[in-house]
Amino acid sequence: MERFLQEIVLFAPAVVFNIYFAVASIPLGFVMAIFLALGKASDNPLISRLSRGYIYAFRGSPLFIQFFMIYSLTLSFNLAVWKPLGVSWFVLHPLFIGPLVLVLNTSAYTAEIFYGALRAVPRGEVEAACAYGMSRRQQFRQVVWPNLIRLAWPAYTNEVVFLFHATAIVYFALPVIGMQKDVMITAKELFERDYNAFLHFSVAALYFLVVSLVIFFLFGLIYKRLMRHMPAAPGMRFAPKWMR
C-alpha cells in the first residue's frame, strides 16, 4: 500500500506533461476544427476538397505514424529553414512539436464532429432565420453555432478525452529531453527496472482514468448549461463514434 502511495507521488510530475500536451493543443485544435468543418461544408469546391482531404488524411492514418513523419520531416528542414531563423531549438522541441502534431490530428477529428453536427442543425431553424432576413453571418452566429455546439458537445467531450489519451504516445515517437518524462515513459522505465507490471501500469492507468473523469465532469457541467433550454437534458453518452 505504501509502495502504491509512493508510486502515486512519483507519477505526479509526469502527468503534468500529459496535461500540458492536451491543454496546449485543445484550444487551437478547436478553432482550426471550426474552419475545417465550415470548409468541408463550403460551396466552393476547392475549399471543400482541401478540407475534406485534410480531414481524411489525418483521420485515416495513425497518430503514431504522424508523429514520426512530422518529426523527421521538420528535422529535414532544420538546416535550411529553422536554423537560419534561429527557431531551431524551439521548433524541434517535443514540447512544441508534440502539441503541433496533436493539433493537426485533433483538428481533423473535431472538424468531422463539427461537420456532422453542422449537418444535423435543424434545417427549419436555419430556414426561419433565412426567412426573417438574417445575413449569412447572422444566421451562423445566432442560429447555426448555438445549435452546432450543443449537438457536438458530447462527441467533442469524447474527443478531448481521447486527445488526452493520445498524449501517451508522444514520447514513444519523439526524443526525450532531460528529465521531461510523461506518465507512459515513467511507467515504462520503472517497469524495466523491477518488472512489476501490475503496480506501475495500474498507477499510470489510474492517472489517466482520474483525469478523464475530471474532463467528463467539467465538460458535463458545460453541457448542462448549454442544454438548459431542454426540459430534460439528455444524459451525456460516452459515444464512441468519432474516437481516434
Binding site: 481524411y56 488524411a57 483521420r59 485515416g60 492514418s61 495513425p62 497518430l63 503514431f64 505514424i65 504522424q66 514520426f68 513523419m69 523527421s72 520531416l73 528535422l75 529535414s76 478525452v161 489519451h165 493520445a166 501517451a168 504516445i169 514513444f172 507512459m184 511507467a187 515504462k188 517497469f191 523491477d194 518488472y195 512489476n196 507490471a197 501490475f198 501500469f201 499510470a204 492507468a205 489517466f208 482514468l209 478523464s212 473523469l213 453518452r237 460516452f238 459515444a239 464512441p240 463514434k241 468519432w242 474516437m243 481516434r244
Partner: protein
C-alpha cells in the same frame, strides 16, 4: 536514366525492403484477428450490459468504461506483459520447488522452470488479443447503443402480435440492430487498423520498425546504401498505406451498409 531506374529498382527490392514488405502481414493479421475478437467481446459485453441480473450488468459496464478510460497504448503494453506474468505465476505454483524460488535472484519469474518463452508469433497473438479487448469495449458500447436505437415501436409491434421475448430479440431486435451498429463498428475497425501501428512497441518487427531502420541515415558502405536521413519518406509510405486501407474499408462498409440497410436505411437517416 535507365541506370537510375535499375538502381532504384534494385534498391527497393533488396532483402531489407523485401522483409519490410513481408512485415505487412503482421499488421494485417493483427487487424483481422483483433477485429474479429473485438466483435466477439463487443457482443459479449453488450449482452452483459443488457442482462437482467445486475452483477453481470455491472461487469459489462465496468469492462467497457474502465478499458475506454485508459489509453489504448497503455493497455496494449500492459496486457501481453501481464498475461505473460500471470501465466508464469501460475506455472510457478505448479512447477517451482521452494529451493528454486529461493535460488532465484532476478525479480521475475519466480523460478527458472516457470519461464515462458515468447517469440514473435506469441506476441502477435497477445497483441491481437489486447486489441480485441480494448476495442471490444468500444464495440460493446456501439452494439449496446445500436440495440437501443432500434425504434421502440418496432419491438412493441412484435410484442403486440404475441411474439415471445426470444422471438422479439432474434426476429426483430438483432436484425435491425446491425444497421445501427455498422457505422459504429466501422469506426471501431478503423481504430483497430490504426492501432496496429503500435505493434513495434511489443518488439514485433512490423512495418513501423522496418521503416525506421530503412530510413535511418547510414554512413557505412558495408551496411548498405549510404544515405542521409530518409525516414520521413518511409513514414510517408506508411501514412499513405493507412489512408488507403481506410479508403478501402470505408467502401467495404458502405457496401455492407447498403445490403444490411435495405428498407431500414431511409428511416434510420
Amino acid at each position: 536514366m535507365s541506370d537510375d531506374i535499375a538502381f532504384w529498382l534494385d534498391y527497393l527490392t533488396n532483402g531489407k525492403h523485401l522483409t519490410w514488405y513481408a512485415s505487412f502481414q503482421f499488421t494485417i493479421f493483427a487487424a483481422l484477428f483483433g477485429g474479429t475478437l473485438a466483435v466477439v467481446f463487443g457482443l459479449i459485453g453488450a449482452t452483459l450490459k443488457n442482462s437482467r441480473f445486475w452483477p453481470l450488468r455491472l461487469i459489462g459496464s465496468t469492462y467497457s468504461s474502465i478499458v475506454r478510460g485508459v489509453p489504448d497504448v497503455l493497455f496494449f503494453l500492459f496486457f501481453p506483459l501481464a498475461f505473460e506474468q500471470a501465466v508464469e505465476w501460475f506455472l510457478a505454483t505448479q512447477v517451482c520447488s521452494p529451493e528454486a524460488i529461493a535460488l532465484q535472484s532476478a525479480a521475475w519469474p519466480p523460478c527458472k522452470e516457470a519461464n515462458w518463452f515468447l517469440g514473435t508469433p506469441e506476441y502477435l497473438i497477445l497483441a491481437s488479443v489486447s486489441l480485441g479487448i480494448v476495442y471490444g469495449a468500444f464495440a460493446t458500447n456501439v452494439i449496446h447503443g445500436a440495440m437501443r436505437a432500434v425504434p421502440k415501436g418496432q419491438l412493441e409491434a412484435a410484442r403486440a402480435y404475441g411474439m415471445s421475448l426470444a422471438q422479439v430479440m432474434w426476429r426483430v431486435h438483432i436484425r435491425q440492430m446491425w444497421v445501427y451498429a455498422l457505422p459504429g463498428l466501422s469506426n471501431v475497425w478503423m481504430l483497430i487498423v490504426k492501432a496496429t501501428s503500435l505493434l513495434s512497441l511489443l518488439q514485433i518487427a512490423d512495418i513501423v520498425l522496418w521503416a525506421d531502420r530503412l530510413g535511418a541515415p547510414n554512413f557505412l558502405p558495408t551496411v548498405g546504401l549510404v544515405h542521409e536521413d530518409w525516414r520521413w519518406r518511409y513514414y510517408l509510405v506508411l501514412f499513405v498505406f493507412y489512408i488507403l486501407v481506410t479508403l478501402v474499408s470505408e467502401k467495404a462498409f458502405g457496401a455492407l451498409m447498403n445490403r444490411a440497410g435495405r428498407g431500414i436505411l431511409n428511416e434510420a437517416r
